[in-house]
């Protein structure tokens, strides 16, 4: 009854002032009342009015996560009481959505042990594909290809393993392999215009294309997928100017340098001339070697790297395609770390190199 009145109050507030804060307040009230679907709907409505609002996005993501956690709890109970393939499949899917590939792998293996067949193998292959696309480790990629081969043998003329193989081969740039799979898919679905277009594109690219092993090695070395480069080209329109953020960070006391890195460009605020260039090069090496080490160690994507020594402290926050770094003379305060997090992943304009 009390929560009902609070919801009414929040709704009235939203009607008078339809701001992102008011949307978030109403969504929160619904969430506290256990109406997660309604909370999600309010968040989505707010995001339509204020696209990209971080508070609403965070709230929406948190509500979704809570829903998934609830469902996972139910599925676990189901699996204890009456384990069956449909429950295993949903469990694995949810675990993959929540980026818990290790638990998804365990679940798929349990499924395979209890109900042997091609479906758990396909799920296991999916787990390794997801893990490879996230970690870019060669071993996960090789395992995914092996499992897909096994699936293809078990599921004769089923397009699902072929589609997964096509996605994986296209992501790593193994064009000859991708073209072979696309032709197999066209045999199953002749005349599909999307597939035909893809096949033509792959035919043009297959000349001199690397083998699967070579392409996997290259992805592990560089940490870049071919699909990343394509996505980066597509998101060119969403670029933002990062300079004000760099300037505000560099203006704080004790900050020696702030660097933003994307592609082969580095924007440096603080040092000038050759020192700026050296700073950018050093930060790039820290990011590159850190990402490579994490891939080799099987720890997945790097989110941040911090170094401390008699030089002060250096913090690097790594996004998917870019990174931000800050060098302070003392210990890095939490507020600066937070600001640095906003720096990575902004897809800033890096058409010009400045120092």
């Amino acid at each position: 009854m009390l929560s009902g009145s609070r919801i009414r109050q929040a709704r009235k507030q939203l009607m008078m002032d339809p701001s992102p804060t008011a949307y978030a307040a109403l969504a929160r009230e619904h969430a506290w009342d256990g109406e997660s679907e309604e909370a999600l709907r309010v968040c989505e409505e707010g995001l339509v009015a204020y696209p990209g609002n971080p508070e609403l996005q965070r709230l929406s993501e948190r509500t979704r996560r809570a829903n998934r956690e609830d469902r996972l709890g139910e599925l676990k109970r189901e699996l204890r009481e009456a384990p069956r393939p449909a429950v295993y499949a949903e469990m694995c899917k949810l675990l993959l959505e929540t980026d818990q590939s290790t638990r998804a792998e365990e679940c798929a293996q349990e499924w395979s042990a209890n109900h042997p067949g091609p479906e758990p193998t396909l799920m296991l292959a999916r787990v390794f594909v997801v893990r490879f696309l996230s970690d870019r480790g060669r071993e996960a990629g090789r395992r995914a290809f092996d499992l897909l081969t096994e699936c293809e043998k078990q599921l004769d003329r089923d397009p699902r393993p072929w589609k997964l193989r096509l996605e994986l081969a296209s992501a790593i740039g193994a064009w000859a392999e991708a073209r072979r799979v696309a032709s197999q898919l066209l045999e199953l679905d002749p005349g599909d215009p999307v597939l035909e277009g893809h096949f033509r594109k792959l035919s043009a690219l297959q000349e001199g294309a690397p083998t699967i092993a070579k392409a996997l090695r290259e992805v592990e070395r560089t940490g870049n997928l071919v699909s990343d480069e394509q996505r980066e080209t597509q998101t060119d329109g969403a670029k933002r100017d990062v300079r004000p953020l760099l300037q505000s960070l560099a203006a704080e006391s004790g900050v020696k340098a702030v660097v933003y890195l994307r592609g082969s460009t580095g924007l440096v605020q603080g040092p000038k001339g050759a020192t700026a260039e050296r700073s950018a090069r050093a930060m790039r090496r820290i990011v590159k070697t850190g990402r490579a080490a994490a891939r080799r160690l099987g720890m997945g994507q790097v989110s941040s790297i911090s170094l401390e020594g008699n030089f002060g402290s250096i913090a690097v926050v790594s996004g998917e395609t870019d990174a931000g770094a800050i060098w302070c003379s003392g210990k890095l305060p939490r507020s600066r770390e937070q600001a640095l997090m906003n720096l990575a992943g902004v897809q800033a304009e890096t058409d010009e190199v400045e120092s």
Partner: protein, 172 residues
Amino acid sequence: MIEVLDPLASQPGVILAALISDDGVPVAVPGTKVDAAGADGGALGDADALAAMCAGWLDELTESMSLLSCDAPRRVVMRAARGSLLLLRTSGAVLLVVLEPGLGPDELWLPMEGVAARIQRILRGMGEATATDSVSDLEPPSPLPKQADTTPSESPSASLNFGQTGGDPQGN
């Protein structure tokens, strides 16, 4: 060394605690979250590979820092999707801890510094012992073969031996 690392490995959320000596030899102790180690086919399940990779990465970081005219970092933290890697460089060794995802390193620095200090004491003690043992080995070899300490009463037998084997010095 394992006893020294044990308290660190038993901290909540620790997947692995290890010590990498200067010559690259690892001493690893699995933590409380041992199931997560190596589950993703990485090097976390293999202490030798982990030690080699971490030592290699630290060298690369040192090279990167030299571009900024700075010394090698003492503390390194890498947060990643499947956990965090903490490295603490001390003289003669690197202390390494792998944490499960979502845990921060802040609570672990103090025990790590404690372990590092203890390791330093042990290594210093070992170094002193080795130095004492090796003093005689470092002495230059004497130009004549070493003889057992002789007492004055033994000298006649020595001259008698000379007489028996070498014969008369005058050729008789």
